[in-house]
């Protein structure tokens, strides 16, 4: 892996969603790690540096909001996070931002939207991964 490759952590309990997001992100040249819930994600965040987190809301053990709140309390270099949810109402968006998300995407995720969010949060416009 190139040392300059941006590393993204996908946090979602659904294996199909993780595979889908991974296929898009790896196809665009990003390095990808996965976690199946907030607890596993926090363990990975404490041991590996990430440039971006893609976080589902509803997960067993610890949901996306709980994970982001814990993550933001940690004394580690903080990276931006995108909350991914099925809920498009404004109160849910507010909750995501209050928990520490920098951006918010509503499912179903389209590849071009996902990559646009990644570029926006990771790079200057037009930069490659």
């Amino acid at each position: 892996m190139s040392p300059t490759l941006k590393r993204i952590l996908i946090v979602d309990d659904a294996a199909t969603v993780r595979m889908y997001l991974r296929s898009i992100l790896e196809g665009a040249g990003y390095a990808v790690e996965e976690a199946i819930n907030g607890i596993e994600a926090l363990e990975k965040a404490l041991t590996l540096p990430f440039d971006l987190y893609l976080v589902d809301v509803i997960m067993p053990k610890q949901d996306g909001y709980g994970f982001l709140r814990e993550l933001r309390r940690q004394d580690i270099p903080q990276a931006p996070a995108v909350m991914i949810t099925t809920e498009a109402e404004s109160r849910d968006q507010a909750r995501a931002f209050e928990s520490g998300a920098n951006s918010y995407m509503v499912k179903p995720i389209k590849p071009e939207e996902l990559l646009a969010h990644c570029r926006l949060l990771l790079n200057a416009p037009g930069d490659s991964p």
Partner: protein, 207 residues
């Protein structure tokens, strides 16, 4: 220092037994600092259907495995229609933590949940239908695949179908093939549906 340890141990022990074993006392013990006291409270709450919301709430924050198991056991014993109705109210609620805990509990109550599932899967709120489908993920009930097939055949909301197809990728059999193909035709412009349905078909083909 041994004396201090003795005093601490005695306090914990007396805490475990000092709360009255009525509903109010047991509910108080459910939040006790000592895990053993919480575990006994969870077990002794089995006769009290009124304790369900408190048990679900505790489950959301409880980290001790033995206490979590005791809560599940009590909820399973209590697992009648009234309990499931309380849990369904949580699914309709605003509080994410409580909704997630309700899903987790419902997965453990297949027989009690089954009569409510057809109604939940046609709830007017798409979010509730998504949560109901999430319950099916590990519900040990013979109708799970049938319910999932009905969802991908009839639900008009793409995210409800997406959640169902995720689970069909794990539990689906040849019975789902026709409807998975039809789902792709229903949502030809949704890359995720196409990806997930193809994955499910691929997995079913291999079994």
């Amino acid at each position: 220092m041994p004396i201090v340890k003795l005093v601490q141990a005695k306090t914990v022990e007396s805490d475990k037994r000092s709360h009255p074993r009525d509903l109010a006392g047991l509910m108080a013990s459910l939040d006790a600092p000592d895990a053993t006291a919480r575990r006994w409270a969870a077990r002794d709450l089995a006769p009290f259907t009124e304790a369900v919301p408190a048990l679900v709430k505790r489950l959301r924050i409880e980290t001790d495995t033995t206490v979590r198991e005791a809560i599940f056991m009590t909820l399973t014993e209590l697992g009648d229609a009234n309990i499931v109705q309380s849990l369904i109210k949580c699914l309709h609620g605003e509080e994410v933590e409580r909704r997630n805990a309700a899903i987790e509990v419902m997965k453990h109550l297949p027989d009690a949940v089954a009569p409510f599932m057809p109604g939940l899967l046609v709830d007017p709120a798409p979010n509730v239908r998504i949560l109901a489908v999430s319950v099916l993920e590990s519900l040990r009930h013979p109708d799970v695949e049938k319910w999932l097939i009905e969802v991908i055949s009839e639900d008009s909301q793409v995210n409800v179908c997406a959640t169902a197809v995720d689970i069909l990728a794990e539990v689906g059999t040849e019975a789902a093939i026709t409807q998975l193909e039809a789902l792709k035709r229903r949502f030809p412009d949704e890359p995720y549906i196409l990806f997930a349905a193809d994955l499910a078909l691929q997995r079913i083909g291999r079994t």
